[in-house]
């Protein structure tokens, strides 16, 4: 489930070699928070959060190479898939649970999002937007399925993913009782003001999520 996909390399911003969506996520994390990063890869985000925000971080990662890289960075990481991994944590044991660029690869996103909000006070997600105007034009003019700008993976490449747009995600969250709170929109790694045209202009969205009616 932790997808080993090629994601656009980070641009040189703030001298930190962190993917732009991860930098945006990091901005949403408050100092000293307890954070769980799902599919944490090589641990770049968790290391950044530890070093810059004194975060107490934990990671879950499927690949051996990812786990080894995290351990080398001195992080606490468990090998496993998200579903099994999340199930072990007690309710509300983290301030934030992070899922970056993994949503389109999930078998059961509703279950994972609900689990994230059981385990964490808030969830932070980032995902590529297939609603961007380039994707729309690509389908219209070439008749080919668009490739997300920030996730250049062809339809036949595994792991399989489900394309969706910012609008799709917003509707989905309403259906399953999740509130989208803070929103950051990126266009090819650069933060943009979108006004009404979020879905048309953003290539990646970064949201914080909460339960609509927390118990």
């Amino acid at each position: 489930m932790s997808a080993q996909v090629q994601i656009l390399p980070a641009e040189e911003s703030n001298q930190v070699n962190l993917r732009p969506d991860l930098l945006a996520i990091a901005d949403l994390v408050k100092p000293g928070w307890r954070v769980l990063d799902l599919g944490c890869g090589d641990g770049a985000l968790l290391e950044y959060l530890r070093d810059h925000k004194q975060v107490k971080g934990r990671g879950i990662e499927l690949s051996e190479s990812g786990v080894l890289a995290c351990v080398r960075r001195g992080l606490s990481v468990r090998q496993g898939n998200l579903q099994e991994g999340l199930a072990d944590y007690p309710d509300q044991s983290f301030d934030a649970v992070i899922l970056s660029q993994t949503l389109p690869f999930l078998d059961n996103p509703a279950m994972i999002l609900n689990e994230m909000l059981r385990v964490g006070r808030i969830a932070i997600v980032s995902f590529s937007n297939w609603g961007h105007w380039r994707c729309r034009l690509e389908l219209l003019f070439t008749g080919r399925m668009p490739v997300a700008v920030d996730l250049p993976q062809q339809w036949y490449e595994s792991p399989r993913r489900q394309p969706f747009t910012v609008t799709d995600f917003a509707r989905f969250c309403r259906q399953i009782g999740i509130l989208i709170d803070q929103q950051i929109y990126l266009n090819r790694g650069v933060r943009i003001r979108t006004g009404r045209f979020k879905n048309l202009l953003s290539t990646t969205a970064v949201f914080t999520l909460q339960k609509i009616n927390p118990p």
Binding site: R58, E64, L68, R72, R73, V77, R78, E84, D88, Y89
Partner: protein, 410 residues
């Protein structure tokens, strides 16, 4: 002896001379002797001590060369030493033999002070809990309040878990490797078949053979052969032996040793009888069978309720069918549920249970980085005179040494 702690000697600690040592069974033992070795130097505030726990047939001799003899490397020589996973430049590493063993600690071959003869079956049955409580006495004796880390594989891993669950205030981190929190029925079954092989040997004589001309070597050899099979994997056996014949061109259609794998098992079974005591094998396998960490409290999570401050590095191996990965995952789940800090990796390996002695590079990465982090987070000062150096990987590409180590001390 490059990058080794070099010549080492085994030391002994005797306790319970006046007041007997009470065992879980209700029996007592007096006196109790433990064999142990230490490598490296304690730092000023005694915070850099690491305890290594050995597996079923292991000894206190974990690193270096016993009395300088180049044919006697420690069983974890590849992981303990200057610049290695357990870096003896930075840490004070202790390896303690277990009670019940035949490597210098009080066991069934020791002299029973009541009779002046070896205990034999009069030796009380010991448990993993008893082994660890004896180690606690040793750590007290060495003047160490809290261990930086307790680490070990297989039965050593059970001791690690016992330390974490029952003596949590004495431990800051734990590395259980290729182990389980409870001995499964399958494991008990393999233990019992091994024990039955020993019982069936007439020379065993109900454990009373120490002054007889013959020891139950045949029984012990079969027990070891069974054990040895369980330490390998089908893949590693396929690679190592295939269906090759031993010194034959074609099948002989007879019951002599024909296949390489038969010859290998026979050789190792026989070799084992020269270094191990049959009664010790009975006692130690029994101790493992009794191991069930969840038992007194009812759940594994409850067993670790006071261990939430301990940082864990749990390691399993994909081809280990004796202590399969799901045993480690169960442990990781319980530790996560109580809020302990757990790092877990199921290392891809084809070596079966023996992988914990063979996957040296991955182990060095994992253990070395984990200990680096502990040093940073727990502010552990190095001993006086420490100069940092790069960590070694594959200290000896000598495959022969590795194979030798795995064959001698799984």
């Amino acid at each position: 002896m490059h990058n080794s702690v070099g010549a080492v000697s085994t030391q002994y600690f005797t306790f319970a001379e006046d007041e007997p040592f009470c065992l879980e069974s209700g029996e007592t033992l007096s006196p109790v002797r433990l064999a142990y070795e230490t490598y490296g130097t304690l730092n000023a505030d005694r915070s850099n001590a690491i305890l290594i726990c050995h597996a079923l047939s292991g000894s206190a001799h974990a690193a270096g060369y016993l009395d300088g003899d180049p044919t006697k490397p420690g069983w974890w020589e590849e992981c303990i030493g200057p610049g290695k996973a357990f870096d003896t430049d930075r840490f004070f590493v202790i390896c303690s033999n277990v009670i019940g063993s035949c490597y210098g600690s009080t066991g069934p071959a020791s002299i029973n002070p009541a009779t002046g003869k070896p205990y034999g079956l009069n030796f009380p049955v010991v448990t993993i809990g008893d082994m660890v409580r004896a180690q606690v006495k040793l750590i007290d004796h060495l003047g160490i309040e809290r261990l930086l880390c307790v680490a070990g594989g297989s039965m050593g891993g059970m001791q690690v878990l016992e330390w974490a669950a029952r003596h949590p205030q004495r431990v800051r981190s734990a590395i259980p490797i290729a182990t389980t929190a409870h001995h499964s029925p399958m494991l008990i079954a393999f233990s019992e078949v091994g024990r039955q092989a020993i019982y069936a040997d007439p020379a065993w004589n109900r454990g009373d053979y120490y002054d007889k001309p013959h020891k139950p070597d045949a029984g012990l050899a079969v027990a070891r052969m069974i054990g040895h099979i369980t330490y390998l994997s089908e893949e590693s056996m396929q690679m190592k032996f295939g269906r090759r014949l031993q010194g034959l061109e074609k099948y002989g259609y007879e019951f002599e040793t024909e296949f390489e794998v038969e010859s290998y098992l026979k050789y190792n079974g026989h070799k084992f009888t020269r270094r191990f005591d049959a009664n010790s094998y009975l006692y130690i396998t029994k101790a493992m069978d009794y191991f069930d960490l969840a038992q007194p409290t009812g759940s594994l999570a409850a067993a670790f309720a006071n261990a939430t401050h301990i940082k864990f590095l749990v390691i399993s191996f994909t081809s280990d069918w004796l202590y399969p990965s799901y045993h480690s995952k169960e442990l990781v789940s319980a530790l996560t549920a109580v809020g302990a800090d757990v790092t877990y990796l199921d290392v891809k390996s084809s070596w079966g249970h023996d992988a914990f002695l063979l996957e040296v590079d991955t182990m060095t990465h994992l253990v070395g980085s984990f200990l680096d982090r502990l040093v940073r987070e727990e502010q552990v000062a190095p001993p006086i005179g420490y100069t940092p150096r790069a960590r070694l990987l594959s200290t000896s590409p000598d495959a022969q040494l590795r194979t030798h180590l795995a064959e001698t001390l799984a």
